[in-house]
């Protein structure tokens, strides 16, 4: 291996079996029975380039030798986006971190791709600026990783998806060329947004930033009715001034937290069933003091009951800590969705009905990320130590996706596992366009193969639907909450 890369120090390449094993998983563990017969998730080697030139060198060699390359940053995704499915090399980009250069006059910043959102914002705040948006995984999620994914989170409601904030990207293309792409270039930078590492490796990012907000204010509301909660989120998302973010959660989410041993801001009955209609809404305004004050006025028209400000602040401070719910597990599975805001109440009610009927604990929370769109997570606890139970729980995700589809929703992110939903994610024309880009930039198909463009067996629509239906039914039996 080192002989292949004369310019990369040997201590940046490993074929150690245990090390490789650690690079063959992401957030959501999947039982071997669903993986081993179909995919080769163990990389042949892991390479940690130290700079953009070394990244380009790896990609060039990979194309020459037709070796699959899987870019991996924080690996805070859960659809095997960063896990190889055909072996090859995992390209750990994490050493391309830092290099933050602010252009205060233009309100833009350049950074290396593996800087985390938390780090970038922290550095900007010290200089009087702030990022416009960040994922609720900002402590680990990298700039390049979020650009490569769907790129919506906190702040997107006000400032749009991360794609809208990009000025330029430096990319190592599969032919080994390092290219700066902009909105006007060919290929344009849009191609690399949500490309999930299938078109090249991002080695530098330039994006717009905002002045550090002069004021911010957080308000927590309790609701007794999920429809009212949904309608309020939808209404507030279109209100002026636009909130920086709106977070919402149902009683299932709060129950998961309580079961994990955490304090929750609402009183819930001792038993989860019948499921309470209660829910929470956190509205956060950031900006000029006058704007934030106007935001407070808007909130007087919300129907929920405003909770004390210390609870609102606590909820805001926990905005990156939704994974606390995992203490109700030990395992937690989730359907992560785009959902039209005007159907939010309907979806929350439908999840409640499904959970109530089947005596399951399902918690839903999310963010309004556009005036008409929410990013929603429906979570449910399980235990990966019990393979059958866990397999059934995995199948149940499709039940939630189907339920969301009936409300106009679709999965958020593709990777390997969501490729089963491609027809829901893209129109035939959109998919065609994506495939054309892939064929043009990566003709040998070495960049993160097996993801995004087509489903591999057993994720073909028929096998997948059948399997998930059966397994999901298993979860309805095995995942039942004990009275």
């Amino acid at each position: 291996m080192p002989a292949t890369f004369p310019d990369i120090p040997v201590n940046r390449i490993t074929d150690d079996p245990i090390e490789r094993k650690l690079y063959s998983r992401d957030l959501a563990p999947v039982p071997a029975i669903l993986v081993k017969p179909f995919f080769r998730t163990l990389p042949d080697a892991v390479i940690r380039p130290g700079n953009a030139e070394q990244v380009a060198e790896v990609v060039r060699q990979a194309a020459r030798q037709r070796v699959p390359v899987t870019p991996r940053a924080a690996a805070s995704t859960s659809y095997y986006n960063t896990v190889p499915v055909r072996g090859g090399w995992v390209l750990d980009v994490n050493d391309l971190r830092g290099g933050i250069e602010l252009d205060a006059a233009r309100q833009t910043v350049r950074t290396l791709p593996a800087t985390t959102w938390f780090e970038l914002d922290d550095a900007l705040q010290q200089k009087g600026f702030a990022v416009k948006s960040y994922p609720s995984s900002a402590v680990s999620a990298t700039i390049g990783g979020w650009v490569s994914m769907q790129g919506h989170g906190l702040g997107s409601l006000k400032y749009g998806g991360v794609g809208e904030q990009l000025v330029s990207l430096q990319v190592a293309l599969p032919d080994g060329e390092l290219r700066t792409v902009t909105r006007e270039s060919d290929p344009p930078l849009d191609w690399f947004v949500a490309a999930e590492g299938t078109l090249g490796v991002i080695t530098g990012v330039e994006l717009t930033v905002r002045p550090r907000p002069a004021a911010e204010s957080h308000h927590l509301f309790a609701f007794d009715d999920l429809n009212a909660l949904g309608q309020s989120v939808a209404w507030l998302s279109r209100a002026e001034p636009r909130p920086f973010t709106i977070f919402f959660a149902d009683s299932g989410y709060l129950r998961l937290l309580a079961r994990g041993g955490f304090h929750i801001p609402l009183d819930l009955p001792p038993s989860h069933f019948p499921i309470s209609e209660k829910g929470l809404l956190l509205a956060s305004f950031q900006g000029e003091t006058s704007e934030v004050n106007r935001g407070k006025d808007v909130l007087t028209r919300l129907p929920g009951q405003e909770l004390p400000s210390d609870l609102a602040l606590e909820e805001w401070n926990l905005r990156l800590y939704h994974l606390r719910t995992k203490r109700a597990g030990p395992s937690l599975l989730a359907a992560e969705l785009w959902l039209p805001l005007d159907k939010l109440g309907h979806y929350l009610q439908a999840v409640k009905a499904l959970a109530g009927r089947s005596h399951l604990l399902i918690g839903t929370y999310g963010l309004a990320v556009a005036p008409d769109m929410a990013l929603v997570m429906s979570l449910y606890p399980t235990d990966e130590r019990h393979t059958v139970k866990y397999l059934a729980a995995i199948g149940f995700t499709k039940w939630l996706h189907d339920l969301s589809a009936r409300c106009g929703g679709r999965p958020y992110g593709v990777g390997l596992w969501n490729s089963a939903y491609l027809p829901r994610l893209f129109s035939p024309a959109q998919l065609d366009e994506l495939k054309k880009r892939k064929a043009r930039l990566d003709p040998t198909g070495i960049m993160n193969p097996g993801k995004l463009y087509r489903a591999s067996f057993p994720l073909w629509p028929v096998t997948f639907s059948l399997g998930a239906a059966v397994l999901g039914a298993g979860h309805v039996m095995l995942g039942r909450e004990r009275p």
Binding site: L22, V46, S76, S137, V139, G260, K326
Partner: protein, 383 residues
């Protein structure tokens, strides 16, 4: 995040770990090494593999010891795993499977033989007092006292850290505190063994030290070493009801608030490095800053990474015994960040931080001095 602890044991916690990676970029050793196996979540996976019966070598388990026990991972953990507890129990597992690094077995044998990790004769423990030209006739070893100063191995034996002990006893004298040291009656507090996963071997040491402290009738035990203080709080305190266990900076802040000391100007730019075991793990943030604020002339500049987010010096968790080169790299990076404040002096409150950061500055930012806070105070007292 709250300080609530949820620890359910190694296997359960390793399952609860979400693999979210929040712990990665704050980990001082992962940042240096870069491989997933050296990230906190990677180490958790290694333990999970070990518990599941995967044959792992001592070499592979070294990753578990390439950790300073700085606690930063626990502070950011998205599922609130008490990772400090996790690492200590995980290390105990490697010891029981005879997979711990050789350097630690040597330290254990040294402690068993001599009562200190270095393997020096324990009757030399108070040797530093004999070198003080104005030491009192009793060499600070008194039968009865209100306060016991538990010096710790580092300040007893390491030449650089001995200056801390020397400064502290002078400051205590200046503040007219009735105190004693235990001299050769003191043995290692046991923390290096606990950190090595050898909890049981620490018990004899604990019993010995407890007995010595009880004999003095003291109502306060004071430490210049934050790791000793942590160890006493966690393992000794329940046997010493009514006795206060304080870090030197806590005692000094208290004394100085009650009666200011006659301090002279120290006209230097000083920053403060929060020792992990005093600050993030030990909860003491304000006392050292109060002491610094009382020194006239001193221009204090805070480093951005401070308090709960304080940097690690690289010297904790027995890392120096297992991988001194890695400890050194961590120290250099931290020293550079601290020096970037423009400080002429990096003040801290831990002999181990002083030792490692002094070496780190020597290589990365020569000319920047590293001092324990009690040394700065002694300077301000002109003693």
């Amino acid at each position: 995040m709250s300080d609530q602890t949820f620890f359910k044991g190694l296997m359960d916690e390793s399952l609860i770990c979400a693999y979210c990676g929040y712990c990665r970029t704050v980990c001082p050793t992962y940042v240096e090494v870069g491989w997933e196996s050296c990230s906190p979540r990677g180490r958790i996976q290694l333990i999970r593999l070990l518990l599941a019966g995967t044959p792992l070598s001592a070499g592979q388990m070294t990753r578990l010891y390439q950790c300073t026990l700085c606690g930063h991972c626990a502070q950011v953990c998205s599922t609130r795993i008490d990772l400090r507890q996790f690492w200590l129990e995980a290390r105990a597992q490697t010891v029981s499977r005879e997979l711990s690094p050789q350097g630690l077995a040597t330290a254990r044998d040294n402690v068993a033989r001599t009562g200190n990790v270095y393997g020096y004769q324990n009757d030399e423990r108070a040797g530093w007092v004999e070198y003080m030209d104005d030491a009192p006739a009793d060499l600070y070893q008194r039968d009865q006292a209100e306060v016991v100063y538990f010096v710790g191995c580092s300040s007893s034996f390491s030449p650089r850290a001995q200056r801390i002990a020397e400064s502290f006893v002078r400051v205590l004298d200046a503040a007219q505190v009735s105190f004693t040291i235990l001299g050769e009656g003191e043995v290692c507090c046991g923390f290096p063994l606990l950190a090595a996963g050898m909890h049981d071997q620490a018990q004899t040491l604990i019993e010995h030290n407890l007995e010595r402290v009880r004999m003095t009738g003291a109502r306060t035990v004071v430490f210049t070493c934050p790791a000793c203080r942590m160890m006493w709080l966690e393992e000794y305190a329940r046997h010493l009801p009514g006795i206060r266990l304080l870090h030197a900076t806590e005692l000094l802040a208290e004394l100085m608030a009650a009666r200011p000391l006659p301090l002279k100007d120290v006209n230097r730019v000083v920053t403060y490095h929060d020792p992990c075991d005093l600050a993030r793990n030990g909860g003491v943030y304000d006392a050292p800053r109060q002491v610094l604020a009382a020194i006239p002339g001193l221009q204090f500049v805070e480093v951005h990474e401070r308090r709960e987010r304080g940097l690690c010096c690289g010297g904790g968790g027995d890392l120096e015994m297992v991988d001194p080169a890695l400890a050194q790299r961590v120290a250099q990076r931290t020293a550079s960040k601290l020096a970037a404040t423009g400080a002429q002096v990096i003040a801290t409150a831990c002999p181990q931080c002083v030792r490692t950061l002094a070496r780190g500055t020597e290589q990365a930012v020569p000319g920047v001095e590293v001092k324990d806070l009690v040394e700065l105070l002694a300077e301000a007292l002109d003693i």
